[in-house]
Amino acid sequence: MKLIIGGAFQGKTEYAKNRYSVKQWADGRVCPWDEIFRAEGIHHFHEYVRRMLTEGLDPADAAQRLCQENKDVVIVTNELGYGVVPVEAFDRKYRETTGRICTKLAEQSSEVVRVICGIGQVIKG
């Protein structure tokens, strides 16, 4: 498993496409729930987490299943949680849940890359 993280609009997906030969991407914003378990790559993973929370589903379960069933997947996700604590309870839950899940995914990943201005820094692997 590979994890690509970074702020919004940093060229993460482009970077991932160049680094890994992934042809088929699941888009976390719109893909069916099950698609991530067989996709070669997932981008906008944080949006997938948000959609699940909105629907009252448990994204931690999905992440655990992902680690078991799709061990070679490339995951691209925004790095959240570098701002002031949000006023809305849902926003607080969203960013913290995403953080905890990404910490688990990072633990399972053989490589973690943080992309800033389109430039990747390998922080694990």
Binding site: Y82, G83, V85, T103, L105, I123
Partner: protein, 176 residues
């Protein structure tokens, strides 16, 4: 040694800080808890943190303002968690330091660092969401930013934790 540990929300910085302290050895461990339990969400957070460190032999000391009232044995290892709550308490609570928060907190940190063997401080990155906040929140950011910067200047180590991965900002790189 003073070790400043920073990171975003949900980044795994607390678990990293606790393990760092545990790995320093069997010396008596203290945990300065600064989160004031004002609602159910904060109670939940406190319960979660207590669970996380339940097996790690910490003696918990609650301190919402004024670090200078604390006393520890000189050979102890102390974890302060976390600076962002302490600063909010100092600014907003009645018995807090108010406009003198920055100097009061820094004096408190120096006081603790002189007293104990190792002081590990967890703080928080709240500066990069690109939002403009009201004056009060901006002042909170300013105070916390100044405190982080000042502690980092005299700390032996500064580490940013990114999703559980330590990135050394100051000091020797850590080996896994």
């Amino acid at each position: 040694m003073i070790h400043l540990i920073t990171g975003g929300s949900g980044s795994g910085k607390s678990a990293f800080a606790e393990n760092f302290l545990v790995n320093l050895g069997e010396t008596k461990r203290f945990y300065i808890a600064t989160m004031y339990p004002f609602d159910e969400e904060s109670h939940q957070r406190i319960r979660r943190h207590r669970r996380m460190r339940s097996e790690k032999n910490f003696t918990t000391v609650e301190c919402y303002t004024n670090l200078k009232k604390l006393q520890f044995p000189s050979d102890s290892n102390v974890l302060l968690e976390c600076m962002s709550n302490l600063v909010a308490n100092e600014i907003y609570q009645e018995e807090g330091a108010g406009r003198l928060t920055v100097s009061a907190v820094l004096a408190g940190i120096r006081y603790l660092a002189d007293m104990v063997e190792n002081l590990v401080i967890v703080t928080n990155e709240i500066f990069s969401d690109g939002m403009d906040y009201d004056e009060e929140t901006a002042r909170y950011q300013e105070y916390l930013g100044k405190i982080n910067e000042s502690i980092a200047a005299f700390a032996d180590r500064v580490t940013e934790v990114v999703y559980g991965i330590p990135i050394t900002i100051k000091g020797d790189k850590m080996r896994e």
